[in-house]
Symmetry: C2
Subunit: 169 residues, 2 copies
């Protein structure tokens, strides 16, 4: 009966294996940002679901983002070490960089290589919520530089600061 017993053991083991499909409806929704006031206001309606984290990933983030009409994706910024990529699933966004503006509609995407000092963000100037995937590497020694405001986030501190290093909170 060794074979039948082995079969039973295997069936039990199979049932205990994690199924890799992510149950998006049960991934927590996090609204807004961690920016110090007043910089969080334009981003306050943004909703993020950390799909990659929910699936056990640590080196790359894959976030499902819901950006209501009028909202910004973030303050305009660029990273020294982290790469970013966005893919629009529905709605329409306006991408702003030093190069100007570009519309991003469903099926459009954009990449932001590391250490290119050209800040980017997206604004939803449409009338419906835009949905997009926000993909990015995770680097502990990254510095995030903000193009338009007195904000800095680097590996030397756990929280945002002014560009001269002074704490906001």
């Amino acid at each position: 009966m060794a074979i039948r017993h082995g079969g039973t053991m295997k069936a039990t083991f199979l049932l205990e294996q994690a199924m890799p499909k992510i149950d998006i409806a049960n991934v927590p929704e996090r609204q807004g940002s961690d920016y110090p006031a007043p910089y969080g206001q334009p981003v306050s309606a943004r909703i993020r679901q950390a799909l990659g984290r929910a699936g056990g990933l640590t080196d790359v983030g894959v976030n499902l983002m819901h950006l209501p009409a009028g909202s910004w994706s973030s303050q305009r910024h660029w990273h020294t070490r982290e790469e970013e990529f966005v893919y629009v699933l529905s709605g329409e966004l306006t991408l702003l960089t030093d190069a100007g503006e570009q519309p991003l509609r469903a099926g459009d995407c954009a990449a932001f290589p590391k250490n290119v000092p050209d800040g980017h963000h997206m604004i939803n100037r449409g009338e419906v919520t835009a949905v997009y995937l926000d993909i990015g590497t995770r680097c502990a020694d990254d510095t995030c530089n903000y193009s338009d405001i007195d904000l800095h986030l680097g590996p030397e501190a756990a929280d945002y600061s002014h560009k001269d290093g002074k704490a906001y909170r």
Copy 2:
């Protein structure tokens, strides 16, 4: 006239900046795989567009995949160092792992953490081409393990080999 001159210089600079939106229609399509025969056959109709690379990314791959009816995404495999994530844009795929099968439809996604010895792949058992994003970190010291076949790809060699290390070609 220093101010006007500065303004002109800045405008010229802006025009020369790269626009970050990716022109997907002009990203090369690569069909099939690099697997040695006969393992490439089930993957031979797969089409990949390397969107992340087209946008200058090196640490994370973001690939737009077209998988015709009957095609496999890959041979079933798992990585020691690289993380993977798939997000289905249209069509329907069947995801196969040690845990069994799961359907992945438009809006569904799955994550494959590194160093979890449970091989995965997807098969298009539907009647229309499935389109999905295949996202993954890039690690030079990664080993790719194949669950069902005598195939191995590790950092010690530039090409696939048998599991005992013998070369295929």
